[in-house]
Amino acid sequence: MTSFVPLTTVFPGLVWLMAALALLQGLRRAALWRVGAAAPVAWLDGLAKLPKRYLVDVHHVVARDAYASRMHAVVAGGLLAASILTALAILPPLAGFRPYWFVVALAFGVTAIGSLLVGARRYPAKQKRLSAGRFQILPFLLVAYAVGGTITALLLALRIDGLFAPLALALAAAGGLGLAFEVRHGPMRHAAAGALHLVAHPRPGRFEGRPDTALQPLDLDAPRLGSEMPADFTWNRLLSYDACVSCGRCETACPAFAAGQPLNPKKLVQDLVAGLSPAEPAYAGAPYPGGRAAQGERGALARLIGPDARIHPDTLWSCTTCRACVEECPMMIEHVDAVVSLRRHQTLERGALPEKAVGPVTELRQSGDPGGRPLSARTDFAAGIELPVMSERGGAEILLWLGEGAYDLRYGRSLRALIRLLREAQVDFAVLGAEERDTGDLARRLGDEATFQDLARENIATLAQYRFARIVTADPHALHALRNEYPALGGRFTVIHHTAFLLELIRAGKLNPGRLPDLSVTYHDPCYLARYNGETEAPRAVLDAIGVTRSEMTRSGKRAMCCGGGGGAPVSDIPGERRIPDLRMAQAAETGAGIVAVACPSCTAMLEGVTGRQAEIRDIAELLLQAVEAGR
């Protein structure tokens, strides 16, 4: 080559230029996050843990789609390796070392293969869950950069001069600079924002192997409550939404989306992204079901929610807070936090609860029960069986928290079974009876933080009067509130789900169930038990202990599909094309099991409400009681 600057300098220079462009584009984007509120971030800790968070936690999610995982490893690994190696070649000893260029060529070659894998997801037809738009250009940019880079590196390795080199370099430059340019508005933003998000994640606890799922208490004296516009979110939340790679895994997992309700978590996140930036390119993924396409205002101070805004209130209220989207998100975005934050503003600042939720929330505020039922009626289900009450006993080993399910005719059966099992195992237990109030779960998920905090404080004060070692509850929603959300308000209790407690009793020999091999059972994981609390094994262990023939649904454990009963969705009752519990029961039917085992009053109510179902709905406690009776 006869040019006055040698290719060995120009080529690394290109990569440095790309880095500079990417940095510039990234900073331009990052400037927008500054409108967000301050947030405490442990920077050093986050930075130190970034490799582990990426390689372990992110990989764990990405790997669920084996193709995507391979594709990403090859293309991202290749891209990073090839770019870094090339950038390092700015050092003359490396630039002049021919085998080094072979290695660079190899890295670009790997990137090229990865680029083809990226392209194969989008051409001839893109996978349904992926977004189109600028993502459709990504494979071409990658191929250009990788192929151009491969040829350039090979030319350098083989010391071949000629016209090829500038052409190849031009190709690499087109692709490479294009990719760098895309850091601001395009697909490559996910890499930059994603990495930063892993460092500055608002829920660092989730990387420490414990469920970090509790909603944070809202300062009710703050001048603004909840989020109305992008500027109301903390900056690292705005950052997190920018990390979205529009892969659509959340969309596939979302029960409301599946039911044709007007919610698509990907579109929701992308609306938060687009709301922030007037320059954001048009969204090119699946819309909210129902065909609504309002553009609304944009900008840091733009109103996000409203009939004419980007996000319709119905979208917000369709969410069951099941966290399936969060569980599936490879970018670790916290969709449910965003939904609740937006709901808080709607409820607390605008009084704009969905029409059908006004009654239950009002009742909750006024009488401590969403049905407006007398608190003393909570124990009606147990009339005729002895039920020790704390106010008469002063204390007991176990405080049995009954929850809202106690008012439900069907669920009373499950609680009676549980009580009979506790008696059988001679557990020293008592209930709060008329002193138990709703945990406030419904109010909190519907954004009524004030009512939640009132109820929580009343319950905490009541609980403080009595001596007990642990709280047992059959309601995962109550469990979550009591175990994970009350501590922030000063209530620290050891709370255990009834399935885990029953397993303890079996293992301690206090319950001796017979075996029920004739029963074919599939277990439906409650979201608030599996995803919110990580408990997927105890219920299965109980079922195994009673010897039922157990099968798993395609979606189970932490990836199970919601019954539709969480987050106030049943009271908001946003219409869709189908019903979530119908979809779930159809999935259960695929297993051929005659019984769907449940462990949550909401799931019981939702799944029992499915018409024409073939399978019986039985709580784990009911099945265990049957086994204990069979074992006598």
């Binding site: 009606d380 009339a383 005729g384 005719l409 069907r410 059966r413 029992e608």
Partner: protein
């Protein structure tokens, strides 16, 4: 799920007594009393309801507090001395063990009983006016009698409390002594116990005050009373509301158990115990009206046979507790099934009145469709699974065959059920075609639903042949082929008579003048007479008996008679059909008066006869020779509740049940099936 079901499953607290739900059984007299005591049979009958989840079960309908109100006539209970207390204790322990509450009804029947039983004491009443139902003329009570009876009530209340019963009610309904004082149709006194309503209320007030003084004011005491006597010279609805409010206001009663009507004669009795010809809950408006005026809980019973009606009655606030007495006779586990989400498994009362009709002819209360009720010591309400799974073939899906298939399937056996017609139910299907008897089909509906749920291989439109039966390689064959209607012995009947069954099946459609000759005295002829009259025929119903529908009990027969009178059907008792022959295109039927032997002739268009059925037994005889037991049921083993002693390794055992043995009734067929199959 039944709408408002949760309203039924809420507890009710009365003076510190918490009843676990709003479903109860009212006091009645099932005829299970023995020597005036509620002994094992009586106790187990109520304990079964408690086991089945009932909130409150009340026993001892018309339990007597004094010797001149004898317990003997309907095998009732005497609370007239302390010897009953140990039985009460045992009884209440049995019911309490299952979480139920137990109360009794105390009464003095006044004129509404017999003087010619037990102690042969004259009946007493405020005034000496004869009651048509009991046919006694009472002695007018003197003030000393009044004081004595008041004291007897008080002592009886004490015995209830000492016996561990959760409470009691006094009966002031159906024309007992207290309401004999209330009702101007009986009370014609001129002293302080007669005349004004205030005076007429006095006796009841004295009774309740004395009971409270003796048993303690914290003891639950209620009253059963009518909300409207529905007779011209009786208590009006307004009177009843006044009485109820006054007694409640004075704190004399902790609950009011309201019913409609009275029972001084046959039709009044039938109306106060409404059968299937009535709509459900026909008198719900009466307790509802009283509930508006009082602060104490209101109970009500009267043809609340289904939980949906019961739930509505409570949810809408008409009553606080709803009594489903006959519904519990049909299925004592009704509440349990509701609360377990198995409402579809409830054997619903069809309102046949078989239970109550039996007791008024001195029998014991038995359910037409549930043969275990009242036989709890020997018959299970929940069938235990067998240790060995057998192959059972049942032939005939009438009530007997269906019950046999159900019980065998509950036992865990593989059951094939052959039925040659397109529908299951056998003769019930015919009975249900006759006017207000339609609800009989509920018996079939439940049985079919159960056998279907239990996986019985029900083969409709399939006539069982010996080959088809043996092809199933059965261990047990049960022939329940039923009976075929019989035309009787009268000369010419075989050629010229048609049967009631043929009329109901639609095989013949009589027109013009019809003579219906009945030798059974059952529902069959009476209901077909009604049906034909409604279709426009001129109907005469003749019978060998002293009256029409003589075998039909007291809650059904008056309804038949009422309808037949209304339709102008000529009723001719004491006649025997001796011959029928054609004359031109008509028939001549010859009848002979059974008392005088005088013969009469009728020129008619149709002769319809009812002679019951003869067994359909061809298949039985075909299968008999090869069976290990030659078709015989070991009756003693069956009665002892032991398995039939046949070795099934050598071949199949053959049994026959129901009308296939001898024409009887639905209960007999179902009992045959249950008691045989529970041990197979």
């Amino acid at each position: 799920m039944i709408a408002n079901a949760d309203a039924l499953l809420k507890p009710l607290t009365i003076k510190g007594l918490t009843i676990r739900n709003r479903v109860m059984s009212t006091s009645h007299a099932p005829g299970y009393g023995k020597d005036g005591k509620p002994q094992e049979r009586y106790q187990l009958y109520h304990a079964e309801k408690a086991k089945g989840g009932i909130g409150l079960t009340m026993f001892g309908g018309s339990s007597s507090v004094a010797v001149d109100s004898p317990a003997a006539p309907w095998n009732q209970i005497s609370v007239a001395d302390d010897s009953v207390i140990p039985f009460f204790r045992q009884f209440s322990d049995r019911v309490h063990a299952h979480g139920g509450k137990l109360m009794i009804q105390l009464t003095h029947m006044g004129r509404r009983t017999k003087w010619d039983t037990e102690h042969w004491l004259p009946t007493v009443s405020p005034s000496p006016r004869r009651e048509p139902a009991s046919r006694t003329i009472p002695k007018e009570m003197e003030e000393e009698d009044i004081a004595r009876v008041v004291k007897s009530f008080a002592q009886a209340a004490r015995r209830c409390r000492e016996g561990g019963l959760d409470g009691c009610e006094v009966s002031a309904a159906h024309g007992h002594l207290i309401d004999q004082f209330w009702s101007p149709s009986v009370n014609q006194r001129t002293d302080k116990y007669g005349g004004s309503l205030e005076n007429r209320m006095r006796f009841g007030i004295e009774v309740l005050e004395a009971m409270r003084a003796e048993a303690g004011d914290d003891y639950v005491i209620g009253i059963r009373m009518s909300g409207d006597e529905m007779i011209a010279d009786g208590l009006s609805q307004e009177d009843c509301v006044t009485i109820a409010s006054e007694y409640a206001k004075r704190g004399l009663v902790d609950f009011l158990n309201i019913l409609g009507g009275q029972a001084r004669d046959h039709i009044a009795h039938a109306i106060s115990l409404p059968n299937m010809s009535f709509p459900v809950a026909p008198f719900l408006f009466l307790p509802s009206a009283i509930k508006r005026e009082v602060d104490v809980p209101v109970f009500h019973a009267q043809r609340v046979t289904d939980l949906a009606t019961a739930a509505r009655a409570v949810a809408e606030g008409h009553v606080d507790m709803v009594a489903m007495t006959r519904a519990h006779i049909a299925d004592p586990h009704l509440v349990k099934k509701l609360s377990e989400g198995r409402a579809d498994d409830i054997r619903q009362c069809v309102g046949a009145g078989y239970c109550i009709d039996r007791i008024y002819v001195g029998g014991d209360a038995l359910c037409i469709q549930n043969a275990a009720t009242g036989r709890e010591a020997t018959m299970p309400h929940e069938i235990r699974r067998a240790d060995v799974r057998r192959r059972v073939v049942v032939i005939g899906a009438g009530p007997g065959g269906l019950e046999a298939a159900r019980v065998c399937a509950e036992r865990g056996h593989a059951v094939v059920l052959f039925e040659k017609s397109a529908q299951a139910g056998g003769q019930i299907g015919l009975a249900a075609k006759a006017g207000w008897r339609e609800a009989m089909s509920g018996i079939t509906r439940w049985l079919v639903a159960q056998v279907t749920k239990l996986g019985v291989d029900l083969r409709l439109n399939t006539e069982a042949t010996e080959e088809a039966v043996l092809a199933e390689k059965p261990d047990v064959v049960i022939v329940a082929t039923g009976g075929t209607p019989f035309r009787g012995h009268a000369k010419g009947a075989e050629q010229h008579a048609v049967t009631t069954a043929e009329v109901l099946a639609g095989a013949v459609e009589p027109t013009g003048s019809v003579l219906l000759y009945d030798e059974m005295g059952q529902h069959n002829a009476a209901s077909v007479a009604e049906l034909l009259a409604k279709r426009g025929c001129l109907v005469e119903i003749a019978t060998h008996d002293r009256m029409i529908a003589e075998e039909v009990g007291t809650t059904n027969q008056p309804i038949h008679l009422r309808e037949l009178y209304k339709l102008g059907v000529v009723m001719t008792p004491n006649m025997e059909l001796i011959e029928v022959y054609p004359e031109g295109n008509r028939l001549v039927a010859a009848l002979r008066n059974t008392m005088t032997d005088a013969e009469e002739e009728r020129v008619i268009d149709r002769l319809v006869v009812e002679h019951g059925t003869l067994p359909v037994e061809g298949l039985y005889h075909g299968l008999k020779a090869a069976s290990v037991n030659r078709g015989q049921t070991d009756q003693e083993a069956m009665i002892r509740g032991e398995p039939q002693p046949y070795d099934l390794s050598k071949g199949y055992a053959l049994y026959r049940i129901g009308d296939a043995v001898a024409g009887r009734n639905i209960h007999a067929a179902i009992y045959d099936a249950l008691r045989l199959c529970k041990d197979l």
